[in-house]
Amino acid sequence: MSAQPFRLARGGRIDRARPLSFTFDGRAYGGFAGDTLASALLANGVHLVGRSFKYHRPRGIYTAGLEEPNALVSLRKGDRHEPNVTATTVELFDGLEARSQNRWPSLDFDLMGAIDRFSTIFAAGFYYKTFMGPTRGAWMFYEKFIRRATGFGDPPPAPDPDCYEKGHAFCDVLVVGGGASGLAAALAAGRRGARVVLAEDGADLGGSLLSEPFGGGTDTWLGAVVGELKSLPNVRTMKRTTVFGAYDNRVFGLLERVGDHLPVPAPGQPRQRYWILRARQVVLATGMLERPIVFGNNDLPGVMLASAARCYANRHAVVPGRKAVVFTNNDTAYDAALDLAAAGVEVGVVDARNTISADLESAARQAGIALHLGCAVARANGKKRVRNVEVCAFDPVRVEIGPAKPALPCDLLLVSGGWTPTLQLLGQRGVRPRYDAKRAMLIAGNVPQGYRVAGSASGKLSLRQRVANGLREGSAAAEACGFAGSPQPALPADALPAERAMTDIAPVWAVPDPPGAGHRKKFVDLQHDVGYDDIALAVREGYESVEHLKHYTTLGMAIDQGKTSSVNGLGILAQMLGRPIAAIGTTTFRPFYRPVAIGALAGQETGLHFKPARRSPMHDWHVRHGAVFTTTGLWLRPWYYPKPGETARDAYVREAAGVRKTVGMVDVSSLGKIDVQGPDAAEFLNRVYTNAFDTLAVGKARYGVMLRPDGIVADDGTTSRLAEQHYFMTTTTLGAGKVMTFLEYLLQTAWPTLRVQLTSVTSQWAAAAVAGPRSRDLLTAVVHDVDFGNDAFPYMGVRHGHLGTIPVRLLRVSFSGEMAFEVYAPAGYGEAMWQALADAGSTFDLVVYGVEALGALRVEKGHVAGAEIEGRTTLADMGLARMASKKKPFIGSTLMQREGLVDGDRPQLVGLEAAGGDVALRAGAILCEPGRHQGHGIGFVSSVTYSSALGRHIALGFVAGGMAREGEIVDAIFPLRREVTAVRVRSPHFVDPEGTRLNA
């Protein structure tokens, strides 16, 4: 392990009592608690940390925050492997394993670096222009090679072993950013009593204050404010939490990194937590990001933002070099220069401005800093680390550069081109920033209602101004929530150290090549290897819109989102087009501000919790008795009950045969059940069903079909009249929700004067269908207070009784064509009812059957179900035209008479069976005239099964002409398997067409 040669002997906000070890590309290094991976690497003198996206150029640590474009690394190993993490935001922990990306065979010696030599042909649009031919599928061939040659890290090899959570949070005032102005805003709002959430991306509060020298005047202020915030119970501080998205109505997406700073999350704790936060007011104290300046070889390791170097020196006690040049066009970089000089670094400043304030000049000279005013760094030189810089006289107004002077040797080049307020969240709300020429920055445009921008995000550079602004905006936000009038303690901005007056910035976007000195690459977007020349090419090719430029060159796209590149891109484009920046416009910001793991967005909703399941009251019985389940919507339903050695087919064929032979029982609790009550209930049902229900006698049930308003069949089921004004409607399992919704819609909008109350009672009742020739015997054995005789309890009769002591509702209805009864019991007694029937059933050779056998039985009988009521079929298509009452109107009664719906050539329900020996038919097969296999054919197969009653495969389907074709042979085509089966058209009623068994 190395000795951290670039660690300062004192200072910083690291915990020197807690040394940590970590590896980078397999080599061991040391650091301290409080380090980031980047600061620890720099402490050990490691600058080369990655290879660039496209050209594989050596890249170093460029920033100290989440805007880092270069230092993307992979963390951890095995299933916890995580690619593309910014080393500048990784909190160091003991045992951390990090690896560089996009290099082969090693970071130091990357053979793919040869691409850089051919970079002139790999310019913007290269892929679009080169790999689109010669065939339409050519890109798919090229893509895998391109992906190997370029890109970022690899995905993890296996599912993530950690868990993630979601949560909802609420507050009066959301303060985004825990820097000076954010702390002030939270304090002001908190003091007034508002519920405040203060979200800070980092592990510590303070923002840029943490880059101030340790123990200075700002620390006193910071300690006091953080202490007071902790004492306010109405202020919730969320550290390590990024507000990544701003959505409608002040809903925000937040990512809390609960366990990212630990080797593995604490027991029971998630790795990350995704919060959906609703706020009444929001204060964006999101700060600013320092802007680079574009010049030749500006991507060399050792080139770094000035603010980053200051952060490393003051926060982490690391000097990133021994001999530094600071290239700036504004005053703020001098803070870095002065602090590095104080730390013993030899510093020179190259300032594009001709003059700076006397105070600043004096301070610099006193610190021994060499000043080069009116100059620019034209290019940096070096291979894997900056070695020297070429400095030239420079006129930032005319963008004119003089000849190169002797190179300045250095191992660190700090850059500051000004500042860019972080306005991505506002941008996500559609707010376009406007360009402030005096400050050379984009500032917030029209801020939406409920939003406020505070501190440096509003373009203020003075710390005192930022704090005062934060206090003001925090107070205003609280007042807007109704927390007004509380006495305000003295403004803590007064307690901050005095500041120097500032000299205006001189905007510099890109430094031209010195005359006669050749050309070097100048990168605008370091993350995507988008250079000055790419923008020039795009402009030459006519991409003058900033959005077109972005998408053609990839400038500012993907995870970087242009944090360090977008404004320079605008400035350069404006220069090239000869237009003011304000006339160029800006690109659109979209979530996410920072990459968010898919796992966090999914939260708990994976595996078992991917979606909820509905279970019948008898579910546990089915589990105990070996049921194999299938899903119908969200319902888990027994599919079949295999006996040892049985296949699914064996099981359902046996079950269906048992029903026809003796008696069977199936769980139908999932059927939709709607309680319909009120004086107008009969009239209501008359209007929604095609057939009449006002004539239905109390104690009787009737099969009913509902149409959609457009005349297509919507759903079917039986409805029983329990009392004069009380009906009990059943629907299909899948139709329950939509039927209930539609009926409520009709009552509330079309017929609000009808006195009808609808209540879903699907969950109130457990239901078993008992079917088969011995069903009456079975029920007679267990229900003693109901006469099951044909006269006393005829087909479609409804009775109430008791199964033992359990109150039950009994309907004599049948889906199988057998004599059958539906038995309803209150859900809490469902399993007891089922068990009682099962116990008694052994005497009658009861077979418990699942939905596969249920389907087989109804196909044999020719009953329609979901496969036939599939959103295109009419009553007449299904042979139910007689159910359309001519005495009353009903929903769909007008439009069902449309020409297209009464066309006699429409496919109509028929039975089908293979014409040449028993062959399994396929649902979805297209029916065609023999030998004429074209177009949409003349119909389709809707349902198929093996009929145990007939001993062969049968099907239902729809064919043009319907039963007029009875006996004809047509072809069933299944193109996916290239199958053609000749089938004979026949009646859909395969079993007991006369209904003898039903009425037995």
């Binding site: 704790q269 399941a613 009251p617 579910h619 002591t805």
Partner: protein
């Protein structure tokens, strides 16, 4: 009558849930022996129904759809403009006797007690635990005692009621019974990051 079977019977395991050794910040348990009766009516004719209910139950009826009335063992929710849910002990004779003969023809009475499973979540972490899935602000300032909301947790329809228990935050969740197991599985997993006690049904 056999005993009613809880929808949670197969998955309910009292004990501590969560890995940390610390006093439980949240307790969850099923409420048993409760019933739910729905009373509905018509616009313009529902007030008399409410007055009759007030006399029969010796309890005022809620005027708004946001705040329940809890009196003794009863909790009454106005879940629709002319629709009340009356929650109380399953053996409450008055609830059992509610029907048209007691309330008149302008009332529609529907027993729905078997359709809901009731889970209580209580403790200092109750609010946070529920907000893992519930998009409703449960802060006492905006969701005080007897406030209730009909919403969804993990895509499951629920009614959440802040019950009048002095001390920690306490809520009762009415869940459609066929979703009860999924809800319970979700709740107990969400509680993993809390120190949670699963109590015996009460």
């Amino acid at each position: 009558m056999p005993e009613q079977r809880s929808a949670l019977a197969a998955v309910y395991k009292p004990g501590r849930n969560g890995a940390r050794e610390a006093p439980a910040s949240v307790a969850i348990f099923e409420r048993v022996g409760r019933t739910l009766v729905q009373v509905s009516g018509w616009p313009g004719a529902f007030d008399p129904v409410c007055r009759k209910l007030e006399t029969l139950l010796n309890c005022r009826m809620p005027a708004s759809g946001l705040r329940a009335v809890s009196e003794g063992v009863l909790s009454i929710f106005r879940v629709g403009p002319e629709r009340l849910w009356l929650a109380g002990p399953a053996d409450d004779r008055m609830l059992q006797r509610l029907d048209e003969s007691a309330l008149g023809h302008d009332a529609v009475v529907t027993a729905i007690g078997q359709s809901r499973t009731v889970v209580r979540v209580t403790g200092t972490g109750a609010r946070q635990l529920l907000n893992r899935g519930l998009p409703v602000d449960l802060d006492a300032a905006v969701f005080p005692v007897d406030a209730f909301a009909q919403s969804v947790i993990h895509h499951i329809p629920v009614l959440v009621h802040r019950i009048p228990i002095i001390g920690d935050d306490s809520f009762e969740i009415y869940i459609t019974s066929d979703y009860a197991v999924s809800f319970w599985e979700w709740l107990t997993e969400a509680a993993q990051s809390f120190v949670c006690e699963i109590r015996k049904p009460e």
